[in-house]
Symmetry: C2
Subunit: 328 residues, 2 copies
């Protein structure tokens, strides 16, 4: 989706690594917690968050991971390790990201296990709530629904960027997860990061990544830094020739796709898409629409019982609602 | 250690990736098992194994991972998932790689757990034996010590390359693990791979990596392919100017270090290093010495109880024998 933007950018986004560079396990940062964090990557992460103003970074620890998927594993492992009662219940309000159950139960860990829809959770305070906001799959802005005084929360903010959603100011949660794949489109680079308030949690996360993969590819971190820098430079030092700026490009692309999708859905008369009111975007400095990365499509036709199956027959690939804690 | 070689190689080993390249989660391979495997990486892995003749690749599935550390997780998860009785006992003959216990028990998985020294294992056939050969830390050539008719074996062959050990022909085990860090020195690239005979095991390993990190950095795979190609080209198409060849360079470097270490140890009269007989190396086509990546140093001085502590006082960093299933 964003490939044409990066083609237009050209050489500024190219990364070049000599055979003798970045050979070591360790990085040159003096970070005593995340010893494998490349300083240029950490700097560009903090810089882009400052420019977009979507998340507080001051006084936060930055932990890098192999995509936000490894960040989720690292976060659950860290929070559950600190907790005394095992297994900890991991919940998320339905419809939830369809990979959460598989990720949480992958290792059949004794530390934690998937406990389903947060709205249906009837346990005590021994839980971790995954709060995805804007939410995958339905694009809504989410808040934790279980009691704040107890349990622990992880905010998965993969889609909290201006092309998907109006920016409502900097988020300020205990643990916030981001990923290059959704921010810039570079899924193949496998880079995610966490902003973490608590030092002990940050340390436990880095320890997990040390024993899971002994750190994170330096090549990917260098490339991610290059990519993030192009985006930030585009806003801090706009080129006089009116070169495209990433979030503007991304929003335009998503708007175009959503327009076409809404038209097709409207013409069919059989489906319902979520509606979002325009909100003031503090990044674009104007009212902006919400354009989720996914469309959460509800079927109104009583004759269609299995929506995924219906679409498969007409060569449209979808994922059934049942994977998101809903029905077919 | 190998950085000077890569400096001398120069531009041939440089990787260059444009902003619009390798953005996707998926790779362009038609591999239906390891869907994130870059074809150029897979080709260079198979090519180098053919040239060095250290491992059979025909009919094997190649699985790529984030270093051989993730490969170990993936292998244990795959083998234990196929097994019916949980937890499976994971063992390795002491002295064993000091990270095995931590890696195995990281997730406190219900599928498997660390059960210590293989030589002391008294269970039935419900085990997985990790066979590290040449062995980290002591450099010996290892064979599985528990009954072949039962249990499962994983061969960790990180050091089975000509600079460390004479090549005795292609290894032909069910599951063989390799890593770029030991083969070429590029630890920061976080690339490991497995050669796997059984299709179901290979599929389960790829499934694990999908849910652990949704695949492996494309940038790292592309760089690894570039690096491996330089080594293979050096032997298949040697340059007329007598440019250095990697395994020759590496062996020379290790020989120099071991010579100095053996001299220092001999002069001290307090320590014993392993001795290896020269063996015919089928790669160098001559008798060659063994030069392990680590030195397994035994202290003979009765006044020294804690070897790591003794060395720390004289500013030499070591790792105590107790981490390897031995004593201090």
């Amino acid at each position: 989706m964003f490939e044409p933007f990066w083609k237009e950018v050209g050489d500024d986004a190219t990364v070049k690594i000599s055979g003798w560079e970045k050979m070591s396990y360790t990085s040159s940062c003096d970070d005593d917690i995340c010893w494998f964090l490349e300083p240029e990557f950490a700097n560009e992460v903090a810089r882009l968050h400052r420019i977009v103003n979507n998340a507080a970074t001051d006084g936060r620890y930055i932990i890098v991971g192999v995509g936000s998927t490894q960040m989720i594993h690292a976060t659950l492992h860290a929070l559950a390790s600190i907790e005394l009662r095992h297994p900890v219940n991991v919940v998320s309000a339905a419809p939830y990201y369809s990979m959460y159950p598989g990720i949480v139960d992958l290792m059949k860990s004794g530390l934690y296990h998937w406990a389903g829809d947060a709205a249906a959770f009837r346990g005590d305070d021994n839980f971790i709530e995954l709060v995805c906001s804007p939410n995958n799959p339905d694009g809504t802005i989410r808040h934790a629904i279980l009691g704040k005084e107890a349990g622990k929360r992880v905010h998965d903010m993969a889609y909290y960027w201006p092309h998907y959603s109006p920016m409502r100011g900097p988020a300020d949660h205990d643990i916030m997860l981001f990923t290059l794949s959704k921010a810039t489109g570079h899924a193949g680079t496998r880079i995610g990061w966490a902003l973490v308030k608590n030092k002990e949690v940050a340390r436990e996360m880095a320890k997990f990544i040390t024993l899971n993969t002994i750190g994170v590819s330096k090549d990917s971190q260098v490339r991610a830094a290059t990519i993030l820098k192009v985006i930030s430079d585009g806003y801090e030092f706009p080129k006089p020739n009116g070169a495209p700026q990433f979030f503007h490009f991304g929003q335009h692309k998503l708007a175009y796709r959503w327009r076409r999708l809404r038209r097709a859905v409207q013409e069919s008369g059989q489906f319902i898409l979520p509606r979002f009111s325009p909100e003031f975007c503090e990044f674009f400095k104007e009212y902006a629409e919400t354009y989720p990365g996914f469309a959460w499509l509800r079927c109104e036709d009583q004759k269609i019982n299995d929506c995924e199956d219906f679409f498969k027959r007409i060569n449209v690939l979808t994922r059934s609602g049942k994977h998101f804690g809903f029905d077919e």
